[in-house]
């Protein structure tokens, strides 16, 4: 309960404002890509203190970044640049964007077909 002492609660202390930690570097970006389906691998509940960061790495990271950049009408460089970080920080829905493509070497059964509707297109260039 937000603390207050007067009957009309006019002195209620505002609830402490929680802010989403900005996505400012590679580990956070990797988690973002896994969380929203741009790269394979289960998202973790948060950064792990030990061990390698979660999310894609190397070529898989570049590919995931490129796909994300394409649909957000950003230069598809495959590199984590400022514009890509800005796009990742925009307010958004928590449902995944797409299903991750299975890595080619995976022995897992084929991924189900993409979600219904037209394939994601790049936003028309301004």
């Amino acid at each position: 309960e937000a603390l207050f002492h007067s009957r009309d609660r006019s002195d209620r202390a505002p609830a402490p404002l929680r802010r989403a930690p900005p996505i400012a570097g590679l580990p956070a970006a990797q988690r973002f890509l896994s969380k929203y389906g741009w790269a394979p691998g289960p998202p973790g509940a948060g950064p792990r203190r030990d061990g390698p960061p979660e999310g894609p790495q190397g070529a898989a990271l570049a590919q995931a970044l490129r796909r994300f950049q394409e649909v957000n009408a950003l230069p598809a460089s495959g590199r984590l640049d400022a514009a890509t970080l800005a796009a990742m920080n925009r307010p958004r829905c928590g449902v995944p964007d797409t299903r991750p493509p299975l890595p080619a070497a995976s022995a897992a059964p084929r991924a189900p077909p993409p979600p219904p509707g037209p394939r994601p297109k790049a936003r028309p260039k301004r």
Binding site: A15, G37, P42, P91, C93, V95
Partner: protein
């Protein structure tokens, strides 16, 4: 559970496989779905009734373009098909923790639950600051109904929130996407007509405009022919838009429009009303001293009632009244039924393709200025009457021949019911 939320697109209850539709997405099998804003899930930012009003409007917007209707369920949360709630951080027993202000502002699940991050600044539709609760709600309900994210410009299913003006609507592609899962709206009409408005341009010459109306039970739609859809926010209650006519169950509308006459009539049961276009209400008494409503037998001698439907043929200055399998042609200048009437509908409007004919009990008959053709409606099908142009191109066509039946939703889109509890929104 986390896998359900994150690894698979959202969707409703596990349904039988038959309900699965395109692309593996699942859809509700029921056509009336219940929803509830959980008692412990109200936002601390907006008044409770405003929150429920916005959610009610969000659900209504989806029912305006699908055969689905949504009703708010005041009962215990567990019984509702779709449960919604606001929360901050760890919330409502959800294993997915909201991240505070910024980034994730809401999420939805296949099982039909929607959560909003109450750290975000949600605002009502009239506000142009903050995050519009209406747009987020429409987006998340889209997920619950089975739609994935889309990056198409203008789609409500874009993952990112893009500040825009307060007014927004489901665009053509969103409508087609949801209709791929649930089909399009079908249904019979009580009547359909084009309403003519004559206006004077600044230079003084008269122009005529028209809008098409569809009536069903106690509500109506205006159909915007140039946009090929119903007006945003329709249907509305008949009483809200037409004063002095019956509140529901209109049988027919006839507009007698000649150089000297401009008379509009609504028919129901054994009586008819004349409508005053200028004052936008039914006459109680017109300039000829006739008081309304008036018996059909008085105003149109020889015409039976109740009617199925009727329409006015401007070229021949005849009103065609339909009842059962019979057609009565009424000569307006002479104010009497043609001697040859009644005739069988199959005789006056013969089938061009054998046995492809409505035969009897039409729902509506309607001359469309947009299509320059007469259409006969029955159930969710229409038959177009061959026009003079058709007969010039195909001389073998019979006069007033009926082309084979076509589905109404293939020509008039998104004439969809909404739940009665949301009709007055």
């Amino acid at each position: 559970f986390l896998h359900l939320l994150l690894a698979a697109p959202p969707g409703p209850h596990p349904q039988d496989e038959g309900a699965a539709r395109a692309g593996g997405a699942q859809a509700f099998a029921k056509r009336t779905l219940s929803w509830r804003l959980l008692g412990e899930g109200y936002s601390r930012q907006l008044p409770a009734d405003q929150q429920r009003h916005v959610l009610r409007l969000a659900f209504r917007m989806w029912s305006e373009v699908t055969p689905l209707t949504f009703r708010e369920d005041p009962g215990p949360g567990a019984s509702a098909d779709i449960k919604l709630g606001f929360g901050r951080g760890r919330h409502l027993g959800c294993p997915r923790v909201f991240d505070g202000v910024g980034q994730e502002f809401a999420h939805a699940w296949r099982l039909g639950d929607v959560h909003f991050d109450d750290d975000e600044h949600f605002t009502p539709p009239t506000s142009d600051v903050g995050i519009s609760l209406l747009r987020v709600a429409v987006h998340e309900i889209g997920h619950v109904l089975g739609l994935p994210h889309s990056y198409r410009a203008g789609s409500i299913m874009q993952p990112n929130y893009t500040p825009r003006g307060p007014a927004f609507e489901l665009d053509w592609s969103d409508r087609k996407a949801i209709q791929r899962l649930y089909g399009s709206c079908a249904g019979s009409f009580d009547t359909a007509f084009d309403w003519i408005r004559t206006e004077r341009s600044p230079r003084g010459d008269a122009t005529a405009r028209f809008s098409t109306y569809f009536f069903r039970h106690g509500w109506y739609w205006l159909y915007e022919n140039r946009n090929n859809r119903t007006r945003y926010g329709d249907p509305l209650p008949i009483l809200a838009g037409w004063r002095g006519v019956p509140a529901q169950g209109i049988d027919a509308f006839v507009h007698v429009w000649t150089w000297g006459r401009d008379e509009r009539y609504f028919f129901k049961g054994n009586r008819y009303w004349r409508y005053d276009s200028d004052r936008d209400q039914a006459y109680s008494e017109d300039e000829r001293g006739h008081s309304y409503p008036r018996l059909i037998s008085e105003g149109f001698p020889g015409i039976p009632s109740p009617l199925d439907t009727a329409f006015y043929d401007r070229r021949r200055q005849l009103i065609y009244f339909f009842k059962g399998p019979w057609v009565f042609a009424f000569d307006v200048p002479r104010n009497r039924v043609l001697g040859s009437s009644p005739k069988k509908m199959t005789e006056v409007f013969p089938a061009i393709q054998p046995r492809n004919h409505p035969l009897r009990s039409l729902d509506a008959a309607y001359y469309s200025y947009a299509h320059r053709a007469v259409f006969l409606f029955k159930g969710s099908a229409y038959w177009r009457v061959a026009s003079d142009g058709d007969r010039k191109r195909r001389p073998g066509l019979p006069p007033n021949g009926l082309f084979p039946a076509q589905p109404i939703p293939d020509k008039w889109f998104d004439v969809c019911d909404v739940h009665a509890s949301t009709l007055n929104m």
